[in-house]
Symmetry: C4
Subunit: 128 residues, 4 copies
């Protein structure tokens, strides 16, 4: 498998939608409002990601550095990013994700503000 | 970062789904029914977008002109477009978005008609 | 505009997910459970679509023939297809959509079975 | 039709998001929380799929072997995979799906934990 999956994906991805709702269900991590970049590193070497966040009214922030081990997936919540600074809630943003190894990235948001949950997902945009 | 992101995306995008629900939660802008084109301009120069809307039973309308500053994201609600004319509610439409600089566009709808919210998103179609 | 949009899209598209829920909100067409192929024909000539539906346990059905006029969008509900036969409810299916002109297709489902509504959307797969 | 559809799709696909909610509506299979890979094999020969699942903290598992007959669609619930082992609930995972014939794959999750349902879908990532 290693050999067949070593080169799966792209080194640059974009998620143009970004918004972490400030409210929602609390006390159950899986149901809290969150945004996730689901990263698959199917290769045989760790991938180092550098994430840059873009905003509407201020300069970009980053890079946030994240490692996705070889042959692992990391479902990274932007809620949890805090270095160089936390991602502001209730604020529009977008992300460019650069990796030193090919990975695949899918974007998901769970929004539990309205007492129930709403979900959305899309493959991120692979820069060619 | 500037250099690495200057050419990210495409100059023409299509969102074939378009429908702004006429009802929904009111009094909280973030929960009103809306459709959004999330545009990322990761480059170092402003991007001028020209949006043309297509309908089922009448000629296309546009262009709507929108500027996305360099190194910024704009989450543009079609609800807010009003020149040359507002986007009709409860009406099927589709959009072609042309930009003079490469950008990435993701489409999202929040629908709060049924007391709760429903979400959907997809990357727009990049015309090659 | 005509000139710039005449060749937008692809002539073959696939939507692998298909399922029209048999129940849901009734009496309001916009909130009934439905599946839609949102087709944009940005070109200057009408597009003739031939849709073939694939199932789990029986041969494919079609083609269903649909015309999308020049410079128009058609948000086609599979609920409304009836020639050669209606699309069965509560049944898995998938679709190949062929067009004699380039078009762009986005897939959306609204599911109102559980008293509220759920939404999902994705660009269809453009066969290269 | 056979001839025109024989080569539709790709032989390798990735779904980077994966999570089967452990709870939800019970007693109605269509409303149980589930994740589905909707596979269309539009060709004239059966397709043999090998699915490998990747996790956050342990080695990958697989391959799971699934056959999609010629000219059929299979909406495969990951809930139902059990050989070599069931897919754990409430656990992040990702999938690489390899096929000996071209197929098209779309990913969908229905989440019925919060008494209502939430839906999301996206085309899987076709490895080129």
């Amino acid at each position: 498998m290693q050999k067949m999956t070593a080169d799966i994906g792209s080194r640059r991805w974009v998620v143009a939608e970004g918004f972490i709702p400030g409210g929602g269900i609390e006390g159950d991590r899986s149901l809290e409002s969150h945004e996730t970049y689901c990263v698959l590193n199917a290769g045989s070497q760790d991938a180092l990601l550098k994430i840059t966040l873009f905003f509407t009214n201020r300069p970009s922030v980053g890079p946030y550095r994240v490692t996705v081990p070889a042959a692992r997936t990391l479902h990274l919540r932007t809620n949890d990013l805090d270095d160089p600074e936390p991602v502001p809630r209730d604020t529009d943003y977008a992300a460019v994700i650069q990796s030193d190894r090919p990975v695949v990235i899918q974007h998901t948001r769970l929004d539990s503000r309205a007492e129930r949950i709403a979900l959305m997902t899309t493959m991120a945009y692979a820069v060619s």
